[in-house]
C-alpha cells in the first residue's frame, strides 16, 4: 500500500484523554478524501493504527485526527500522547473509506459515542455543505470525551442532540422509531453501542442496507506467541503489546490491510494448523477453521502455521 510522508503540525490536548493532531504534507498537498475516511499512522515505534480523518474533506492542505489515550494502549495511543512532537516526520497511508455516506439517503441519522465522534466531524462538514437533512446524536462523558461539544453546538444548531452520560440516556429504540423511508443510520462508538444498534434496528424492521457502523476497534494486547511461515519455514515471535500483523511487518512480511481493527477483511491470511483466538468481526464461523485476521487475532495454545 502506498504510504505518504507527513509532518506533524499542531497537536493539542482537547480533553484530558484526547489529543488532536494535524498532519501536514511534506511537499505539495495531501490526497483528497471523502467523509468517513481514515488513514493509518506508521509510528516510529513500529505501531500502525488507523484513525478517522475529522478535518474538512474539501481541504487537502492538512489532515486532522484525534487520538484517545487507551487505558489498554499497546503503545500506539500512548506514543501519540507522550512522545509525538510538532515537526516530527512520519509515514501515513493514503486515505481509505470503509464508512462512506450514502448518496441516496434523504435523512442521515448519525450516532456517536465518545471518541466515535471523529468520522462524523467530517460528515457534518460535508452534509452542511450539501444542505442535506441530518441529525447528529452524540453521547459523551463531561470533562472526558466531550471534545467537540462546543464547536458542534456552534456549527450544527438544531442538527445536534447531546447526551451527557449522567444526564440523558441515548435511547436507540426511540431514535430509530418512526423514521421516513429515505433514512439511513450511521454509528461509531464502542462495541456495546454497535451491538445495541444491530439488535434494535432488526427488531424495528430496518434492513441492514440502511444501517452503517464503524468499530474503532484497536487491537488489544494479549500473551506473546510464535507463528511459523509454512513457505519459508521462518518463525516470527509476537510480543504481548504487538499484533500479529505488526510482528509480520517488522519481520519484513507485508500483508494487505485497511482497518487494522478486524472489520474490513483485507488482511485475511490462511493457516494450516494451530490454536487461534479469533477477535475479528469479519470471518464467518466456518471460515475460521482455515483463515485468520492477523490485525487483531492471536495465538492461544499450539503454535500457528501460516500458509504464507
Amino acid at each position: 500500500m502506498s504510504a505518504l510522508d507527513a509532518r506533524v503540525g499542531e497537536t493539542r490536548l482537547i480533553t484530558p484523554v484526547i489529543r488532536e493532531v494535524s498532519l501536514m504534507p511534506v511537499n505539495g498537498t495531501l490526497p483528497a478524501f471523502s467523509a468517513g475516511s481514515h488513514v493509518q499512522l506508521h509510528l516510529p515505534n513500529g505501531k500502525r493504527n488507523a484513525y478517522s480523518l475529522l478535518s474538512d474533506p474539501g481541504d487537502t492542505s492538512h489532515y486532522r485526527i484525534a487520538v484517545r489515550q487507551q487505558a489498554q494502549s499497546r503503545g500506539g495511543s500512548r506514543y501519540v500522547h507522550e512522545q509525538l512532537q510538532t515537526g516530527d516526520q512520519l509515514k501515513i497511508s493514503s486515505p481509505a473509506n470503509l464508512f462512506p455516506l450514502h448518496s441516496t439517503a434523504r435523512l442521515h441519522v448519525l450516532i456517536a459515542a465518545g471518541i466515535g465522534i471523529t468520522p462524523f466531524l467530517a460528515y457534518c462538514t460535508e452534509l452542511l455543505r450539501r444542505g442535506a437533512a441530518f441529525e447528529l446524536h452524540y453521547a459523551y462523558r463531561a470533562g472526558l470525551s466531550d471534545a467537540y461539544v462546543e464547536v458542534l453546538r456552534e456549527q450544527l444548531g438544531e442538527h445536534l442532540h447531546l447526551y451527557e452520560s449522567s444526564a440523558r440516556r441515548l435511547d436507540l429504540g426511540q431514535l430509530l422509531g418512526h423514521r421516513p423511508l429515505g433514512t439511513h443510520v450511521y454509528a461509531c462508538g464502542p462495541q456495546s453501542l454497535l451491538d445495541a444498534l444491530r439488535e434494535q434496528s432488526l427488531a424495528l424492521g430496518w434492513p441492514a442496507a440502511r444501517v452503517h457502523w464503524e468499530a474503532f476497534a484497536a487491537p488489544e494486547p494479549g500473551v506473546p506467541f510464535v507463528v511459523e511461515l509454512a513457505r519459508s519455514g521462518r518463525q516470527v515471535a509476537v510480543g504481548a503489546e504487538q499484533s500479529l500483523l505488526e510482528a509480520l511487518e517488522s519481520a519484513g512480511v507485508e500483508l494487505p490491510n485497511l482497518c487494522r481493527g478486524g472489520v474490513c477483511g483485507q488482511c485475511r491470511t490462511p493457516y494450516l494448523k494451530g490454536d487461534v483466538e479469533h477477535r475479528d468481526l469479519f470471518l464467518a464461523h466456518e471460515e475460521r477453521a482455515s483463515s485468520l485476521m492477523p490485525c487483531v487475532s492471536r495465538g492461544c495454545g499450539s503454535p500457528i502455521l501460516l500458509d504464507i
Partner: protein, 174 residues
C-alpha cells in the same frame, strides 16, 4: 466466473427478490388480481400489520400506482412491500416504490412469468408493455424487435433490438 453467474445470468431478474429474513412491521401487499390467498397467508403473521392494495379495486394501474405512492409517502422504515403480478405490473410499481425511498431489500417481487413484460425499444426509445414472445413489433416505430435476455432494473424492462437489419419491419410494413 462464480457459480451463481453460471446458473443465473445477472442480466435477467430473479424471483422472488428481496430479503425474506427481514423482520417486517408493516407489510404492504399489492396484487394484480384479488390476491386473496396471499392476503390470508400474510394476515396469519401475528406481529405484522397488513395493508393490501388489489388492482381490481382501482380504476386502472395508474390509479393504483398513485395510491401506493401516497401510502409510501407516509410510511416509516420497517415497511416491506410485496408485489404480485406480471412483469410489466410489478416493475412499474417497483419504480414507484424506489422513488418513494424503498431499498431493493425492502421489496419482494413475485412474478407470474406468463403475462406481459415491459419492453424498451432501443430504436425509438419507447417503453411499452409487450408479450412473452421473443419476436414482436415495436408498438411505436414498428421495427420487428428481438427481445434480448437483458433486463434493465432502472427501466424495469427488457431491451428490444431490431431482429433483422435487412428487413427491419419484417412483414409488418413490407
Amino acid at each position: 466466473m462464480n457459480r451463481t453467474t453460471e446458473l443465473h445470468p445477472f442480466s435477467v431478474p430473479r424471483y422472488p427478490s428481496g430479503n425474506p429474513a427481514q423482520r417486517v412491521i408493516v407489510q404492504v401487499l399489492v396484487t394484480q388480481d384479488a390476491g386473496q390467498q396471499r392476503h390470508a397467508q400474510l394476515l396469519a403473521r401475528a406481529d405484522t400489520e397488513l395493508r393490501h392494495l388489489a388492482l381490481p379495486q382501482y380504476a386502472d394501474e395508474a390509479a393504483l400506482g398513485e395510491a401506493l405512492a401516497t401510502l409510501l409517502s407516509e410510511a416509516r422504515v420497517g415497511v416491506h412491500l410485496e408485489l404480485h403480478g406480471d412483469e410489466a405490473f410489478i416493475w412499474s410499481l417497483c419504480g414507484v416504490a424506489r422513488a418513494a425511498g424503498l431499498l431493493g431489500d425492502e421489496i419482494t417481487l413475485q412474478c407470474n412469468e406468463s403475462g406481459r413484460r415491459m419492453l424498451f425499444c432501443v430504436h425509438c426509445a419507447s417503453l411499452q408493455a409487450g408479450t412473452c414472445a421473443d419476436l414482436q413489433p415495436c408498438r411505436q416505430c414498428g421495427v420487428m424487435l428481438e427481445v434480448r435476455r437483458h433486463f434493465s432494473e432502472r427501466l424495469g424492462a427488457y431491451l428490444g433490438v431490431c431482429a433483422d437489419a435487412d428487413q427491419p419491419y419484417a412483414q409488418a410494413r413490407p
